[in-house]
């Protein structure tokens, strides 16, 4: 199962390196959001710093949606999804492969966009960078796990680009609330670290439950 998933993830990433369609769009979008935010909020103003944790997750969520939608819709051209479904593997391998590719891409966007955001807003991290990376990892994991499943569900619809955000935002709101709260604490007020860890635990539990659910249910979603 893992070998097949890895082959699919490798294929998606290689496709992306070849076409530069999705990742490029995601990074450009993230850059534009940061630029607009820097004009809207004065970076010199101290109250602006309070916006940063939210801005981090706005960038991740909106640029993530661009990639999620594309990753499954692209398999409809020439019915390549049928090619994957008739191959000797479980449908969950397709989900796992797509998840790994999407997760890698969102991590790349984060690596580029978050330092750019901090730089433009002259934001100095008062808390722990390691905890911040952990929050980014846990939050992105849950967002992409649920997003990949819902993208597969929405890809059968003609208006998948509209349907995906409508399904995704309500489903991922516990993850987004949790990670935004944890990010705020970790970046600005390390004294409340136990509270951030509690948020992180909640999100991690949500991630595990939904990842397992998506893994088990994907077979029914992908059926022709």
């Amino acid at each position: 199962m893992f070998r097949a998933a890895l082959t699919i993830a490798k294929k998606d990433i290689y496709s992306e390196l070849r076409t530069k369609q999705v990742l490029g769009t995601m990074i450009i979008f993230a850059g534009l959001v940061i630029l607009v935010l820097s004009f809207a909020f004065d970076p010199a103003n101290n109250t602006t710093k309070a916006v940063i944790p939210g801005a981090v997750w706005i960038i991740i969520v909106f640029s993530g949606i661009l990639g999620l939608n594309r990753s499954l819709v692209s398999e409809q051209r020439n019915d390549t999804m049928h090619g994957l479904l008739v191959a000797p593997m479980e449908a969950s391998s397709i989900y796992l492969g797509k998840f790994m590719a999407n997760f890698s891409m969102i991590l790349i966007v984060e690596i580029v966009a978050v330092p750019f955001l901090f730089l433009l807003f002259d934001f100095k991290v008062n808390g722990s960078i390691l905890y911040f990376i952990l929050v980014l990892f846990v939050g992105s994991f849950g967002f992409i796990a649920i997003g990949t499943f819902l993208a597969a569900l929405a890809s059968n619809s003609k208006s998948s680009e509209m349907l995906l955000p409508l399904l995704l935002f309500p489903m991922t709101s516990p993850v987004l609330i949790g990670v935004t709260q944890a990010t705020k604490i970790i970046l600005t007020n390390m004294e409340k670290l136990p509270s951030a860890i509690a948020w992180l635990q909640l999100v991690a539990a949500y991630d595990v439950i939904f990842f397992v659910l998506c893994f088990l249910l994907i077979e029914y979603v992908l059926e022709v």
Binding site: A4, T7, I8, K11, S15, R18, T19, R77, N78, D79, T80, H82, G83, L84, L85, V86, A87, P88, M89, E90, E223, V224
Partner: protein, 234 residues
Amino acid sequence: MIEIKKLTKQADNKLILRGVDLSIKQGETVAILGPNGAGKSTLLKVLATLIKPTSGHVKINGLNLKKDHIKVKKLFGYLPHSSLLYDHYTPLENLLFFGELYGVKDVENRARQLVKEVGLSFFINEPVKNFSRGMIQRIAIARAIIHEPKIMLLDEPHTGLDQGAITILNNVVLSMKEKGCTTLMVTHDFKQAAEICDRIIIVKNGKIADDFSINNKSLGLVSEKYEALVEGVL
């Protein structure tokens, strides 16, 4: 080789397959004919595990289609009307990807050999998006047989092909037959069906209306039986 018993498929409120019973022996080349909406492609998609049947049993090579679906999938090569190929990939990259999914040993040599066999060695490093329909279908044929399947499931494979691609496809089916491969082909092309198949099944309203063997590539017999059953011409 393939045993189908009381197979039904319902989609919404419409019964697409109404209790299909069918037995196909190893090495047979079977054409499935019928009017549009008769359930031919649905039958093929059920066998290809793309669609789950509503009821009934399917056994392939003694394996249960539902329980042993991964082992069953290794047995067949599926070639529908769509190419199932990635446009921006070259023929070699497409074959390597599908070969890896099927766990083909020495996949690169096998892929290169197949590209050569379908006459596209010169275009091995060109993206598939630049190819004509005939060239794409040649690579699609190579993709379907990369793992040397024991059963070929072909869904209207001759549609839109030039004469060269038709000849290559027919040669592939006949050479696979010599190796003992079973072929099921859904088609509207009676000429090709008579040319390469030794058994004809006519499907009408989700049921098998006729099932007969043909000898000597008898196109006349196929047309006669089809017209009598489907179009009511006596």
